[in-house]
Symmetry: C2
Subunit: 179 residues, 2 copies
Amino acid sequence: MENLIELFGISDDLVPQKFKKGHILQSQGDVNSNAYLVKNGLLRSYTIDQKGKEHVFMFAPEDWIISDIESQEFHHPAELYIECLEDSELIILNRKHLASVELNSQQYQQRLNKLSRRIAVLQRRMIGMMSSTAQERYEEFLVYYPNLVGRISQRMIASYLGITPEALSKIRGQIAKNS
Amino acid sequence: MENLIELFGISDDLVPQKFKKGHILQSQGDVNSNAYLVKNGLLRSYTIDQKGKEHVFMFAPEDWIISDIESQEFHHPAELYIECLEDSELIILNRKHLASVELNSQQYQQRLNKLSRRIAVLQRRMIGMMSSTAQERYEEFLVYYPNLVGRISQRMIASYLGITPEALSKIRGQIAKNS
């Protein structure tokens, strides 16, 4: 919470709101200027392709911020659904509100840094999707999300990795055998 | 050039430097705090996987900025090579230099906006890689890079799309037939 005040220079509207497991905060096609900071719980964002297949874009456990940047920043229809995978307490960050706040240089630098980190995560994930094996991607997933394995289904992890649940099961067997 | 002064608040060190086609500005493993703004010419960034196969991460024609954010912002060894695909004139933006400049809020907002746009491009590309057909990805490529088709090889476009040159050739045939 303190970080947030430091980062955005705001202390109002910071009361966490509670949402139930399964609640959809945003659907594909919505224009939504909110980003969600997870105080407790777990969110995911995902897309559904033209054949009706789901693809997990990211997970957001405690202290992560999740949004569809196209919608949040540029008012385009969102590509991503955002869903509560557990009962969650969220701080809703609204762009219009944030834009009206006068920040000092240190706060601006922190925001620039936060955006750069997000680019770095996406860059690494994109490079991984192009050039790493599924096993390497799974090992990277474990580093990024060390506490998620017991909290989400194998099906969702497989969807995040872009592989079938059967392929993930094989990889997990392989890692267990080698360790 | 004016945009750059506006954006970064600097006017020194902005003399473009010339590089020949084929020049490698950065290799995988380098720690490089530079970003490159293309005045004239064309760059690409790419990675090489453990089997020695190249994967194009992005192209940067005129007015684009290209860097490896892991290396530029966080001093990690770069994942990406950056190469001149044509003789190019580049403005080299150095992070250490940029960090020392005092910006006003409008300049900060412009930088935040620029980073947000980069996240949006990466988000869309990542979603496309997960959930779009190769033909949809090629059509999106044509929108992002409208003037590149004649300037780069089919092999490189295929590598950017994550498909074989043969598959790209089929898609182009299909599009030609339908138009």
